[in-house]
């Protein structure tokens, strides 16, 4: 029952994100727009390239969806409303999100098209840049919570949300989250206007519908992770817990969609340089600062 409610909430969130993404990219809001374009995608033929890698081509879109859903399954909407309250929750989020790269690399490799493959390999480079900035800030969060259980991570922020306690980690995690969801300016694998759709280039029809849905779910999942790890999840006065979770998640999703809108797309080389020369030293500094603060302040 809780699983069904959580997944319905996730899908509702994905729909709202779709409306929002249409709004920021098209300039006008359409409530039924995503439904119409989803139905249109299902009504189109799904082409399959001639010399493709059969397994990779079919597996990539569902795998992206599965990885986003599994990561969302360990994130709580309210104290009781969580699909699986795993003892290793925070680590599980990492593990599930790692498959985003696998799915996109498969999607890039499978159709035997030049644009798709460049997109896939670019995302692999992007992973090398952002992955540490997901893992290291979560470590600092776990240090404060003394636990990897996501509900305990939320409860550890009762006095002060982690966004204020460890602001460096918050900013790094938010940026890395945008890179996971390949939102602008980190939209290297799809690169609209440059790679003819990149990893999406050879996907049409129902397969593209699965791919797009997976990406929307991924945005909601990462926004929920930011809210759980840094903004205190369901904690908040007056309103019920689930409302706080939903509001924080949607606010983070909106921020992630809007933040890079007017920034030029970064080159893969520059993402890697920023990630390793600035990001990782800052993330290590964050762990150290949090460690000292826990010892001194408690």
């Amino acid at each position: 029952m809780t699983a069904a409610i959580s997944i319905l909430a996730l899908l509702a969130g994905a729909y709202l994100v779709a409306v929002l993404e249409g709004w920021v990219s098209m300039g006008r809001m359409s409530i039924t727009g995503p439904l119409a374009s989803g139905a249109a995608m299902l009504g189109r033929e799904s082409f399959v390239p001639k010399r493709r890698d059969r397994v990779f081509f079919e597996v990539a879109p569902p795998l992206l969806l599965v990885s986003a859903l599994l990561a969302a399954a360990v994130l709580p909407l309210s104290p009781g409303l969580i699909v699986a309250d795993l003892a290793t929750g925070a680590l599980f989020v990492n593990a599930a999100l790692a498959y985003v790269m696998v799915a996109l690399l498969m999607a890039g490799w499978a159709p035997n098209g030049a644009y798709a493959m460049v997109g896939g390999f670019r995302f692999l480079g992007q992973l090398v840049a952002y992955s540490m900035l997901i893992v290291m800030p979560i470590t600092a969060v776990a240090m404060r919570a003394e636990s990897l259980v996501t509900t305990e991570v939320v409860e550890s922020q009762a006095a002060l949300p982690n966004a204020i306690y460890q602001p460096i980690g918050f900013v790094l995690f938010l940026l890395a989250g945008m890179a996971v969801c390949f939102l602008p300016p980190f939209d290297l694998p799809t690169a609209p206007g440059e790679l003819a759709g990149g990893v999406e280039a050879e996907y049409t029809g129902w397969r593209l519908a699965v791919f797009r849905l997976a990406r929307l779910v991924l945005v909601v999942t990462v926004a929920a992770a930011v809210s759980v790890f840094y903004l205190g999840g369901w904690l908040g006065p007056v309103f019920p817990p689930w409302a706080w979770s939903a509001a924080k998640t949607l606010a983070v999703a909106a921020l992630m969609l809007l933040a890079g809108r007017h920034v030029p797309r970064l080159r893969e080389t520059h993402v890697l340089e920023w990630g390793w020369k600035v990001g990782i030293p800052l993330a290590l500094l964050n762990i150290f600062v949090v460690g000292v603060m826990i010892l001194v302040v408690g």
Binding site: L42, G43, K50, A114, M132, S147, L148, L272
Partner: protein
Amino acid sequence: MTAFQQYALLLAMAAATIGFVFCLYVIGKYLAAPRKEEGEDTPAASGNLPEEAAWARYHPRYYGYALLFLAFDMEMAYMYPWAVVYKELGLVALLDMGVFLSILFLGLLYGWSQGALRRQ
């Protein structure tokens, strides 16, 4: 719920997702009635037909980063258990991991000085 039940539930979720994707496939199959046309199955290449396979023509120029990434990724596996017991162990934990991380960070600096952090 026991840990086993939780993982069973997650597995069931993954299976249900595959089922959902299969449903979309069936819907798509009956909604779209495509007509076979020549050339519809060639990958996009700006209007030109590709002459050779696209596989194996890409040079991942970030392999220097990728090697360093392996070292860091392995190290993070040790960080999680340490992070959980950090408050309990206190200063000892900070010093232990401080030494470990500073060695690793020196490795990063060394790699940087040798040109690992640039497009190869």
